[in-house]
């Protein structure tokens, strides 16, 4: 069934009608199918990186000089923001990407839409999809895949090994913590008084666990709005949020005065942790330090 949904969604259509349509328009524009030539494969020195963590990994691998563009979620390191921005990773435009004349696209899982990816593939620009996982293994896997795509396997393995050590170290520290484990509620947004919280199988769930805490809600997958009662029942000890530039985030006071939040233990102790979104949820090279930072914030007392 799921197969069907995505099929209908993307208007994948039988090849014949596609060919017919193309031929018709080809004739219209005096095109004959022989006028075709393949570009020469060159060194993969014009890379577009889609997804904040992928970009970070490329910088970590010291291959950033090969980047020609990035997506709007790629905001770290600062140098990345100087690259041309091809738009939001889930709403990519094919021509925008092709306009920077890339010979490799490395994209985090979830980039899209499918039509754009189809076209990029058709344009014979190698499109490498990097799997996403919210565990230590997931991060290592990402680094290896990016390294593979860039043809720097050995370097990637070295970096992966180092980061693996860092992560294991961070996780070990989390596991060694002997005090009472805190329940953490990650709030993605409070727009319209609705609390959008992270359930299982999310980056927030992953980092909370790795930092030695408990995700306060685990009855659903993904990000869903929580009812006021569900917030009360979840009874988080700490609220975790992304800090945002500008005034888009909710004030601390405002947050704790929301009826649902005000009943929680977190409100009593005014426990609110804000961290940079990409740093906290990116699951890239900086995740070990994010774990350490989150843990020390959680268990500072």
């Amino acid at each position: 069934m799921k197969y069907f949904i995505s099929k209908s969604l993307h208007f994948k259509i039988i090849n014949t009608s596609l060919v017919i349509a193309k031929i018709t328009l080809g004739i219209f524009l005096l095109l004959s199918s022989t006028v075709f030539a393949d570009t020469d494969r060159q060194k993969l020195d014009k890379v577009v990186s889609i997804g904040g963590s992928v970009t970070e990994i490329i910088y970590e691998l010291e291959e950033a000089d090969r980047l020609v563009a990035r997506d709007s979620t790629s905001t770290y390191p600062n140098a990345a923001t100087l690259l041309p921005d091809v738009g939001y990773m889930r709403a990519l435009s094919p021509e925008g990407i092709l306009s920077v004349d890339p010979n490799l696209i490395i994209a985090e899982d979830g980039s899209g839409p499918q039509e754009t990816i189809d076209l990029l593939t058709q344009a014979s620009v190698p499109f490498v999809k990097i799997s996403d996982g919210f565990t230590r293994q997931g991060i290592i896997q990402k680094i290896l895949e990016v390294g593979d795509a860039l043809g720097v396997k050995a370097k990637a393995e070295k970096v992966a090994a180092r980061i693996n050590d860092e992560l294991m170290d961070a996780e070990r520290k989390s596991n060694q913590y002997s005090g009472k484990r805190k329940k953490v509620l990650f709030i993605l947004s409070t727009r319209g008084g609705k609390i959008l919280a992270s359930g299982s199988n999310t980056a927030a769930d992953g980092i909370i666990k790795m930092a030695g805490a408990i995700n306060a809600v685990n009855s659903f997958n993904g990000y869903k709005p929580l009812s006021d009662e569900a917030v009360t029942v979840a009874a988080p000890d700490v609220i975790l949020m992304m800090d945002r530039r500008g005034n888009h985030g909710t004030d601390d006071e405002e947050l704790f005065s929301m009826p649902s939040i005000s009943t929680t233990p977190a409100a009593k102790t005014k426990s609110l942790i804000r961290m940079n979104g990409l740093y906290l949820l990116g699951f890239g090279p900086r995740t070990a330090s994010a774990i350490n930072e989150l843990r020390s914030e959680l268990y500072s007392d």
């Binding site: 069934m1 209908s8 208007f11 080809g26 006028v35 570009t39 738009g87 889930r90 709403a91």
Partner: protein, 357 residues
């Protein structure tokens, strides 16, 4: 004296219609021009002229050139043409049906209804009985968007129209209410959606032609063609309806038929446009208004001219959307809103001045 008066009078009637017919030709040429422009311009440095030159000299195109022109810009141009024409025509027909220049599929909830239909198809696709999905195939989302738009238009017309007189206030308010209801149900469904579906919905909701593909063009093109074919034949009837529903019947229009066909055409055109491009606003209200100002209100030419001008404006807006923040893209809905909202206010003010309602 008599003769001069007669020839003068004759000329106004025949002239306006002839101007409208001539505008068909002019706007068609303009659309072709804008089409060439849109094929020639984009963030990628591929010039249509160099390609034409290559074709003339029988040189080889690089595959990148081929893809940018024929798989990216051309389907996008065609989809933009279809969607622009569909939105403008459904606006023109709806304004004729409601006898009011403020009726617009986006403003009074029909797009929201169509959107709800599309979301139902995306999210609940698995629940819909298999035989339906296998019959509809690629048309599933489009068909549900059409159903959603159709139901909304029907409800709206029933609520807002009493004895052939449409209350503008009721229409706008009922439209807002229906739009909100559709939005609320959509919200519930979005809650049910899984991650992949959510991503699809987010992209779709942005209102963009960036997802244009030959597949979409081959699905939407013929259907929009059918809707336009229906709409264009409503010209006579909608003119009559301008004199009031009772009078329209008195001068020989089968008004119930007319209304059914108009609602069908509006729902089909809006539904398909929404299904393939998300919610792109204001084309439906701005374009027919401009045509009325320039050529006159005769629906026999207004509908076709609106379709052509709608296509031109949307294709131009799309060109802007893809070059203004290149290599990223500005959602086209933002551009149409920037152009459209002031025009909407202008219509509102000029209506108030004339004390029309």
């Amino acid at each position: 004296m008599w003769a001069t008066k007669e020839s003068k009078n004759k000329s106004i009637l025949a002239d306006k219609y002839r101007v409208g017919r001539r505008a068909h030709v002019i706007l068609t040429l303009a659309l072709l021009l804008v089409g060439c422009f849109s094929l020639a311009i984009g963030p990628a440095n591929v010039s249509i002229w160099s390609i034409l030159k290559k074709l003339m000299l029988n040189e080889l195109l690089t595959s990148l050139e081929y893809i940018i022109i024929f798989d990216i810009r051309l389907p996008r141009l065609l989809l933009g043409t279809c969607v622009g024409a569909a939105l403008a025509i459904s606006g023109a027909v709806m304004q004729g049906l409601f006898r009011n220049p403020l009726a617009d599929p986006g403003l009074i909830g029909i797009s929201a209804g169509a959107g709800l239909g599309a979301i139902i198809a995306i999210v609940l696709g698995g629940i819909i009985p298999g035989f339906i999905t296998s019959i509809l195939g690629n048309y599933l989302v489009v068909f549900f968007a059409f159903l959603g738009g159709w139901a909304t238009t029907l409800i709206l017309y029933t609520v807002a129209t009493r004895r052939g007189q449409t209350s503008v206030a009721t229409m706008l308010l009922a439209g807002i209410a229906l739009g909100a209801l559709a939005g609320a149900i959509s919200g519930i469904l979005v809650y049910k959606a899984n991650d992949q579906q959510l991503r699809d919905l987010t992209f779709w909701g942005l209102g963009s032609l960036a997802g244009a593909s030959w597949a979409k063009v081959t699905v939407a093109g013929p259907l929009i063609g059918v809707a336009i074919f229906f709409a264009v034949r409503l010209g006579h009837g909608l003119n009559a309806l301008a004199l009031g529903e009772a009078t329209a019947a008195h001068i020989g229009v089968a008004t119930q038929n007319l209304k059914n066909n108009a609602i069908f055409a509006v729902a089909a055109a809006t539904g398909i446009a929404v299904a393939v491009s998300g919610g792109i606003g204001f084309i439906g209200i701005v374009v027919p208004h401009l045509v009325r100002q320039l050529i006159g209100p005769d629906h026999r030419t207004l509908i076709v001219n609106s379709g052509l001008l709608g296509a031109i404006i949307l294709v131009l807006a799309d060109v802007i959307s893809r070059i203004i923040v290149a290599p990223a893209e500005l959602p086209i809905g933002i551009i149409t809103a920037v152009i459209g909202a002031p025009v909407f206010l202008w219509i509102l003010l000029s209506n108030r001045k004339e004390g029309n309602w």
